[in-house]
Amino acid sequence: MWALENLAGGAVLLGLVMYAVFGGADFGGGIWTALASGPRAAEQRESLFHAIGPVWETNHVWLIFVVVTLFTCFPKGFGALFTVLLVPLVIALIGINFRGAAFAFRHFGGQTGRHIPFMAEVFTISSILTPFAMGVAVTASVTGRIVLVDGQAKAEPWFWLSPFTLLGGVIGMGICAYLAPIYMTVRTDGELQGDFRVRGIIAGLALGILTAVEIPVAMMEVPLFAGRLLAHPVVYVVVLAAIFGIATQILLWKLRFFCAQICAAGTVSLTLAGFVAAIYPDFLVGQLTLAGAAAPHVTLIAYFAILAVGTINLVPSLLLLYRTFGGESDAELS
């Protein structure tokens, strides 16, 4: 359990959770920019745009953290995944680029969404596309259809397209679309806050249904993974994720926005934790174990030393960032 490769797997999970919980919400901001509706649609877009501004780059670094941790600690697994998942990863990457660039151009172009419809379009489309492609890639990695022949990863050309992975893509979008409005309830007030509350509740319902449907699909399509997901002790994580999800809905209903925000982040973290725990003890389900994919122990020890020193520097800086921009971040641009 406490073997170095398992701890390194934990570091990957930590990076994924941080990326989903923070970076995911930024993509969700883009999704709700596209879905903004009602009499305050423009205000919804503006407030989302301003909330994303100061934090998205920092949040984005978690993705780099995940990729780097993968190739440092699990080079064999990384090599295999990035060989066979070329297409969805390229799509995600294009989305990441256009999202970031469109946001920066809009922002530093000195004009907001209304004035540059083209940049706004690019921003929203790529905010939808990226989490979808990532969801597809992440779920495709557990299908067990990636085989290793003499250390070389092989898979059917379109193996990453199936009901399970497509639903995984939609869940990726769902996670982002779920977090953004709930976080926004803390950053807005009045009718706008009400708008985000309703959107958060709707997205919560949708995400709950999607993840619930994914379980039988997984049982049909990827039985090995599904078996682990529903076996002791991973199943408790799944149940806990569901409990957190329901609690978030209740908190939103009761207007307890601060708690709802934390609870929603917990829901997403537990969902991902359950997913990753069901891969254990493998890296590639049924093909390559964590230990088999892992780098030499010296590397893992050095990695954890870097992680420790890095965390000591990172945590206070992150707290300063979110403390400074956690509240009404509209102030600087108005």
Binding site: I64, T83, A104, G110
Partner: protein, 443 residues
Amino acid sequence: MSPVVAARALMGISLGFHIIYSTIGIGLPLLLMIAEWRSLKTGDELYHELARRWIRTAGVLFAIGAVSGTILSFELGFLWPRFMVFSGPIIGLAFSMEGFAFFIEAIFLALYIYGAQKLSRWVQFFCTIPITVASAASGVIVISANAWMNTPAGFTIANGILVDVHPLQAFANPAWAHEAVHGTLAAYVATGFAIAGVSASALLRGRDREANKLALTLSLAVASVCLPLMLISGDWAATTLAVQQKPKLAAMEALFTTTRGAPLVIAGWPDPASGKVLYGIEIPRMLSFLAHRDLDAIVEGLDAFPPGNSPDPRIVHPFFDLMVGSSFIMIGAAAWFWWLRWRCREVPQGKWLLRTLLFASPFGMIALESGWLVTEFGRQPWIAQGHMRVADGVTTQTGIGLVLFIFLIVYLALTAGLLWLLLRPPSAGTGMETKQEVPHVGT
């Protein structure tokens, strides 16, 4: 197109693109820090205004740098998975450290850019310190990975398996120190000259004289301090190469045959068929002196290495000359500026000087890009010198040519967007610019 060619082209284009943004991402924070410091120290608001004016550029370029850096980290996986399986446990550690430096940079840049109205001026200045330090550190750290490809160290391979990894030895591999120093200085020079060019261009059009005079002085001061250090570190790099990376040095200097008292060849076209450099200017025995501090020293030529194991001088030597030539163009332009500055006791604004500075302004970046090409082309055919060939590191996946084509479009779109953004005047009322443009009367 063969997968290796497509993968190399894509990696090369991505890095060439990323280098521009990361260079400015290293250089600009230093200028911001100095400007904010001077502003607090002298009470001259113009310095602070100058810094706030650079923010738009810094913000956009940093964002593009962040996403283009992500492209690179993905490409390591989908273009070079076999290389990463081999080297990930070693150079991955450098990337892990760089990741944390990148976090610090992103966080404090956000605080600095967006916190203008929430943070005091002193806190704003303090924010520029971690940005400057972290951006320089991220460059220094990631260069360790590149240096490792040139001089792999800190591991043993037994039966095709990586054993006996020494992370510190690998990190501080032989080529790291000179590459890191030379590369970081190059970033300051390139940014200094880029900003000097922008200021010179504005002065030529008579725009905003006071601010641009200040910007010109500040950026050229940084560049001019670094330029002589560039030459010294370049010499250090050359003498180190003469011991550690002999094939690269031979290709850089287009030395085909091992020679005692080897000449330095400036310019010219290396012709492998005849083993001669056509149209080159020869300085007798100079290469032996530069490489070994001895006019009669033996310098190994390309013939000293087995065929197929050394780089093609036709793509190394010209870029090396371009790099060295660029630095002399910049030294000339900077020297002229400081000479007039000293003579007139005023920031000189002669048309021809400003035009010269404008002409010299891209050469910092040109030098940096060519230096990078020299180190990469000069390592061929190896991806990790002596251990793995480029062709053995590439992906087994098909369709890389198509991926190359797609990313060409992505880069064209990003470049077009950037040019569109940076070349048009900033619009008012964004809160991102200086409060109110103070009308400056031309002097």
